[in-house]
């Protein structure tokens, strides 16, 4: 068996002496291979990758390059010298640069005829590269002129190029980490990208970090599964046949489902249809989505990353527009370009796990809660804020959701992650909109906070609020939803009720 190009053993990393992001993980990458690394959010994938490219050092671990032991890189430049580079999920491209400028960004010193750049030479070399990787573009084009998939390919080419330049040897073994490479692409563009990656495999090895299990299974040679910072599974796809369910269960862990059983059966939804979509389409994201949400019901849209579920929810919230189809809220047509505040007037609230988009960190807790409920804390005469009422509302919510804070006047910034999220949930608890859209509502927060938020959501549901859930955590669907609609590649597949769903996940 050939010596792996890159091997790390026993990598461990703890943050702030408390959070153990990685516990003794070992992975290896061989020549001309694509290795997949999968896991939930928070499982440790991103930490591991950052250690590999030198963003920060590990607390423990060994690094072997072609069998020889060396140290971990201290910064991305050193990592490049050690043969490892990364292509980030987003923000890696510089739109205003021309292709040849971007390809050599950071490596201009190799093409300098002081003081000017040897642009002719750079162009020529760039043409060679784009030909080698079969990328269709003109090296004088600006990056923004190219389709996103081409941009991604050039990003990957740039990473490979960087490694070659550092090594000085054109065919040196190198490892390029691809972080969710297909995430920003449309469904159609994803296929194309992978055929290029397979092509590039001839000279470079890849680590593919992805949520999209079908991609991982189709294009990688071996797969590592991380859960809670540990390596829980390792599949060699040339020897074993692995299904998406197998992978999925390894990622999520079977035992956790036992605790997630719902205590009551699916509630009988009301007659009234509060939210309805008919053939809702957004090119590149989702197609022909038709749903009916009844009063007091919770529907989940479940599917792999990139399947369109996030875009559907964002569209209903007003953060995105749609191309065709109809959206109706409480019987009224909601036009495509409406802004979020209009949707809220219609009765649609949006609660997401992305706290930076939800809270005002400089503000005290009570104001974060009241801003959505301002009409409830006004004095009877005139539109003046009743500070007492505001404080009382905040105290009520804090008690109900068990928000741990010194008092309601404390700044939100000082709260821990779970408590911040509770504040966000609290404001909706008070507002009680007709429909609440949930997107990754409990991402990255502790179990206790999660439980409290679920309880609050369930109480809101019993009061008649309807919910639409989109999340990467299947346990959440079991806990909250009455029915689950499966989505793949932007199209709704079949619908199952909650019990069916839980059973399918547990076996």
């Amino acid at each position: 068996m050939a010596v792996p190009v890159l091997e790390v053993k026993g990598v461990a990393k703890t943050f702030d002496r408390v959070v153990q992001a990685l516990r003794g993980v070992s992975i290896a990458v061989n020549e001309n291979e694509i290795v997949g690394v999968v896991g939930e959010n928070g499982a440790g994938k991103s930490t591991l990758m950052k250690i590999l490219v030198g963003v920060y050092p590990p607390d423990a671990g060994e690094w072997y390059y072609k069998g020889t032991r060396t140290s971990f890189p201290k910064n991305p430049n050193e990592a490049a010298k050690k043969g490892v580079a990364i292509v980030y999920q987003e923000k890696g491209v510089i739109p205003a640069l021309k292709v040849y400028q971007y390809l050599f960004l950071g490596h201009e010193d190799k093409y300098m005829k002081f003081p000017r750049l040897a642009t002719t030479e750079m162009r020529r070399r760039a043409r060679e590269i784009t030909d080698e990787f079969h990328i269709t573009c003109d090296v004088d084009q600006f990056m923004y002129e190219l389709p996103l998939s081409t941009q991604k390919m050039i990003e990957i080419a740039r990473a490979i190029l960087g490694l070659r330049l550092e090594h000085g040897n054109d065919h040196a073994a190198s490892v390029v980490i691809l972080d969710e490479p297909t995430a920003p692409l449309t469904i159609e563009e994803r296929q194309g990208l992978f055929s290029y990656i397979l092509d590039m495999k001839k000279t470079t090895s890849f680590i593919l970090v992805s949520h999209m299990m079908h991609e991982v299974l189709e294009f990688t040679d071996r797969v590592y599964v991380l859960r809670d910072g540990s390596l829980v599974a390792h599949y060699d796809l040339s020897r074993e046949s692995v299904t998406e369910e197998d992978l999925f269960k390894a990622i999520v862990g079977k035992t956790s489902f036992e605790h997630a059983a719902r205590d009551e059966g699916p509630a009988v939804p009301g007659e009234e249809v509060v939210l309805e979509t008919r053939s809702l389409t957004k090119r590149g994201s989702y197609y022909d989505v038709s749903l009916e949400l009844h009063k007091g019901e919770c529907i989940g849209i479940f599917g792999p990353a990139g399947s369109g579920k996030s875009e559907i929810v964002k569209t209903i919230a007003g953060l995105m527009s749609f191309d065709s189809g109809t959206l109706m809220v409480k019987g009224e047509v909601a036009r495509a370009g409406e802004e979020p505040h209009v949707r809220l007037t219609r009765g649609v609230g949006y609660f997401s796990g992305e706290i930076e988009r939800q809270l005002f960190f400089n503000w005290p807790v009570k104001e974060n809660i009241s801003i959505v409920n301002i009409d409830k804390v006004l004095r009877r005469r005139g539109r003046i804020i009743n500070f007492n009422a505001e404080r009382q509302m905040a105290e009520r919510i804090t008690a109900r959701l068990k928000i741990r804070t010194r008092d309601v006047n404390a700044n939100c910034r000082s709260l821990s992650g779970g408590n911040k999220q509770k504040v966000s949930a609290g404001r909706w608890f008070e507002r009680n909109p007709d429909i609440l859209l949930l997107e990754d509502p409990t991402i990255g927060i502790d179990v206790g906070a999660r439980k409290d938020i679920y309880e609050a959501l369930k109480e809101m549901k019993s009061r008649g609020m309807s919910m639409l859930l989109v999340s990467d955590d299947p346990k959440e669907y079991s806990i909250l939803c009455d029915r689950v609609v499966l989505i793949k590649n932007g199209r709704l597949q079949r619908e199952v009720d909650s019990r069916e769903f839980t059973e399918a996940m547990s076996t």
Partner: protein, 324 residues
Amino acid sequence: MKSFSNGAKNGRARYLLGSVKKQPVVLILIVISVAFSICFPDRFLTYLNISSIVSQFVTIMLFALGPSIVAAMGSMDLTYIGIWMLGGIVLWRLTPTLGPAAILVIPVLGVVTGWLVGVIQVKAKIPSFILTLSLLVAYSGLTSLLSGGYPRIVRGYEFITAPLIPYVPTELVWTVPLIGAAVFIMRSTKVGTYLYAIGSNEEGAQLAGIDVQRYKILAFTISGLFTGLGSVIQFQHLGGSVPLALNLNTMVSPLVAIVLGGTLLTGGSGGPDRTILGALTYVVLYRGLYISFLSPEVLQLLTGLLLVVSVVIASRELRSVIVT
């Protein structure tokens, strides 16, 4: 969204057409030049008018060179008037003691100013427009202080604008290499590429390993240097006197030239070469309107309107550029 071209090599003709489309200002320049020539043939195409155009062009370009570099990086530099004014008055103070060598004070002032702005902007995270605006006002106050309250005339530097080539204003002779140097830096060196990168996607530039802080400071310092060098020519070109008060018009015209030329204020494109076009267009438009006997107040009004309109147009173009 900009249309996706599929990588076919552009023919010469398509390339030319493409660049006209990308730079509508070229078309505007041609149109208004022709229009004014037709409407006022006896006043527009005279030697006097053309040399006024050249003269104004030089003034604006010398002020706009530095800021257009900073604008390509995505920030704003409004200190140019301040460097000119303060530089001039310091020169007036120092010439009796240091002789002609005192002229070096102005570029030094420019560099120091630029560097200071860069450092404060980067470390304290103050938006560049308010920072440079405040500094500009501070400089004008300092100028007034040093001048003792009267506009002063600096003598002894007439050689800067002494006639060299017949029919060609000497200022232009000095200005052209300066413009050339600025364009060269932005288009043909590593520094230029990095500045465009930072302007286009600062986070991405950081991820690519570019020391963003260092290059931002460098951009402001270079801007100060060009403004300083430009001011050496500028103050003599404008008669050797240093004014006391800030003239809003003088401050805004270089900005108009930059925006009109097509430099997006969020950064990533444009720069000194585009500003040449913008300055030329602005000056031709200004002179054309001037000789049509519009009052100076109306002219100022139109300047402001032009600034607003060009920024509006520029902002629209911005929305069509994809940022991943």
